[in-house]
């Protein structure tokens, strides 16, 4: 807790109090509880750790979680970009409501999302039944997991891309048009590259969120080991079997993955901000 470097700011009181409280609260609520994972895993020894983490059921869960999260984030990148484009460039009735609704997956409890998506995509559900004649099963299959992860990741790409799209200077597009570029060329050469950092950030955020998702997936996936069991669910199962060491070992791998993502996203956002800070 080093001293303040800007003498100008030393006038304001409360550094010790607010900093002390912040650090104490963070430690009690987050850091000490999180450290239990490290200590618990440290107590189990390498051999047992690898045995748990590399068991076929765990590997299958990681493959499914990562694969489904990547697909969902990709779907969200493509359609989320179109949604952001629509909301920031076009005018149409009901736009305000649609814009507000984009945040629904943030605000809706995941268990509500889970039961609702399951009822819609089950074989007798309003969307699920359309796929029955095609022989496609959505709920209680890997496809259902992708649907749930797409739902919960939906706001991320839209809300990352939308402000950048709104702030993109009209002059850039005008200049491109004046220089003879077609609309498609302007999009590919001017708008596209300018949007890329935001799009990648949105993708990464949606992916990170999907990776840890439990609530909405547990209903729609069917939860069959080796087939439709995602990592958070596997951790939950281990906890219910009182296999705390197994659960923490899997959780540790997951945390390392998530923190790497968080770190990467922070770097991305800094890169994105420095590239488009116009002032």
């Amino acid at each position: 807790m080093a001293g303040m470097t800007k003498t100008k700011r030393r006038v304001l009181p409360g550094f010790g109090l607010t900093m002390g409280y912040t650090l104490a609260y963070l430690s009690l609520i987050a850091l000490i509880p999180l450290s239990t994972i490290l200590l618990k895993t440290a107590g189990m020894g390498w051999e047992r750790f690898w045995h748990v983490v590399l068991s076929p059921r765990v590997i299958a869960a990681y493959k499914l979680s990562i694969g489904a999260s990547l697909i969902a984030a990709a779907i969200n990148s493509i359609f989320g970009f179109m949604v952001a484009w629509t909301l920031s460039r076009y005018e149409f009735p009901g736009k305000g409501a649609l814009d507000a609704l984009v945040d629904l997956p943030f605000a809706l409890p995941t268990s509500v999302a889970g039961i609702t998506l399951t009822s819609i995509y089950a074989q007798n559900g309003i969307i699920g039944r359309l796929f029955v004649p095609l022989g496609i099963k959505i709920a209680f299959a890997p496809l259902g997991i992708i649907v749930a992860l797409t739902f919960i990741g939906l706001p991320f790409v839209v809300r990352t891309v939308q402000p950048v799209l709104q702030d993109l200077e009209a002059e850039l597009e005008e200049a491109a048009a004046t220089l003879g570029a077609s609309r498609l060329q302007t999009f590919r050469r001017v708008i596209g590259p300018a949007m890329l950092p935001a799009l990648i950030t949105g993708f990464a955020l949606a992916f990170a969120r999907a990776l840890g998702e439990y609530g909405s997936v547990v209903f729609i996936s069917g939860n069959m080991p080796m087939h439709t069991e995602v990592v958070p669910l596997l951790i939950m199962t281990k906890l219910e079997e009182f296999d705390y060491q197994g659960a923490t070992a899997i959780a540790l791998v997951m945390l390392v993955l998530s923190f790497t993502m968080l770190f990467g996203i922070n770097l991305l956002q800094r890169w994105s901000a420095s590239r488009y800070a116009t002032d």
């Binding site: 509880p33 629509t86 116009t278």
Partner: protein, 315 residues
């Protein structure tokens, strides 16, 4: 939600107002910076279809499923003792977790925006920690601390204190999951507000608390309210973390999102969706409040670029 705030304040100095009138003369000719009509229709169509399938149909179906056996069953489902106890526990949990995180948010944003210190970036990143932790893991860490086999398990057992599979565990897990929300809304608002008025107040002899309550708090009130609303929505709606620590004891440790799961697993779909519809209504209220207050936050936050901002919004 997370990345937007910073990006929005970055809008540039040049006013984009010059090009409008020129094109008015040739109304039928598409401006070179406009998309062709077919592309516009295609993009709007695909975007609306995507949102329709993933947001509007689910939203409608919650209420349709809740009411499909009639209003009588709907009200019976949300007024039976188990449902009422779930509602009470959800309200209680939010009533503890939200004020705790409100105080934390104020302290953290004051420390981060008012002072320079080493490790500021690290601290800001630590506040985002719960976003990187799976809900299941968020609950698990408290089981490892306070569960029967946990660090303090023996001691707690000897003193007959229950944390896991009881209300304190639910409150703790909820507090962990929701602690970033107030702080991360407040930090950009406080940063943008600057310290000039506070410095003036201190110079004129106000105490620190006076300065905080009379100057800072009024300046950041909309940002604060915005953070509290989002924090509350998550506190009432958290499922995964709470699921791990609750033990699912009916009438005792079930919050509303957990009760939705229990009813659903009992094949009591109508009742499950009835309780879910209450949570959905809360989500919708949150979205409306977010929009109304979000506008005020943005307005208060951008005094220096307002000339440009207002012109663009008006155009």
């Amino acid at each position: 939600m997370p990345p937007i705030e910073g990006a929005q304040t970055g809008s540039g100095g040049a006013a984009g107002g010059g090009w409008r009138p020129v094109a008015e003369a040739t109304a039928n000719v598409r401006r070179a910076t406009e998309d062709p009509a077919w592309a516009r229709r295609l993009i709007i169509g695909v975007a609306a279809g995507f949102l329709g399938i993933f947001l509007i149909i689910p939203l409608g179906s919650v209420f349709a499923e809740a009411l499909n056996k009639g209003v009588g069953l709907y009200f019976a489902a949300i007024t039976n003792p188990e449902a009422l106890s779930a509602i009470r526990l959800t309200l209680l949990t939010a009533a503890i977790a939200v004020p705790l995180n409100l105080i934390f948010g104020l302290a953290a944003s004051w420390a981060i925006t008012r002072f320079e210190f080493r490790g500021k970036n690290l601290l800001t990143t630590l506040i985002d920690l719960p976003f990187a932790v799976s809900p299941v893991i968020s609950g698990m860490i408290y089981v490892l601390m306070f569960g029967a086999q946990g660090w303090f398990g023996g001691w707690l057992m000897a003193h007959h204190i229950r944390i896991i599979f009881a209300v304190p565990g639910i409150v703790l897990a909820t507090t962990f999951v929701t602690f970033p929300f107030v702080a991360r809304e407040l930090i950009p608002v406080m940063e943008a507000g600057g310290t000039d008025e506070e410095l003036a107040a201190i110079t004129l002899g106000a105490t620190g608390w006076q300065t905080f309550f009379r100057i800072t708090l009024p300046k950041v009130k909309w940002g604060l309210l915005y953070g509290v609303i989002i924090c509350n929505a998550r506190a009432m709606g958290e499922f995964g973390a709470v699921s791990v620590v609750s033990g699912h004891i009916r009438g005792q440790t079930n919050t509303m999102p957990l009760y939705v799961e229990i009813l659903y697993n009992d094949y009591n779909f109508t009742a499950s969706f009835a309780v879910a519809s209450l949570l959905t209504a809360l989500a919708l209220v949150t979205l409306v409040a977010k929009r109304v207050i979000g506008g005020k936050v943005k307005h208060a936050q951008l005094p220096s670029v307002s000339a440009d901002g207002i012109e663009r919004e008006a155009a």
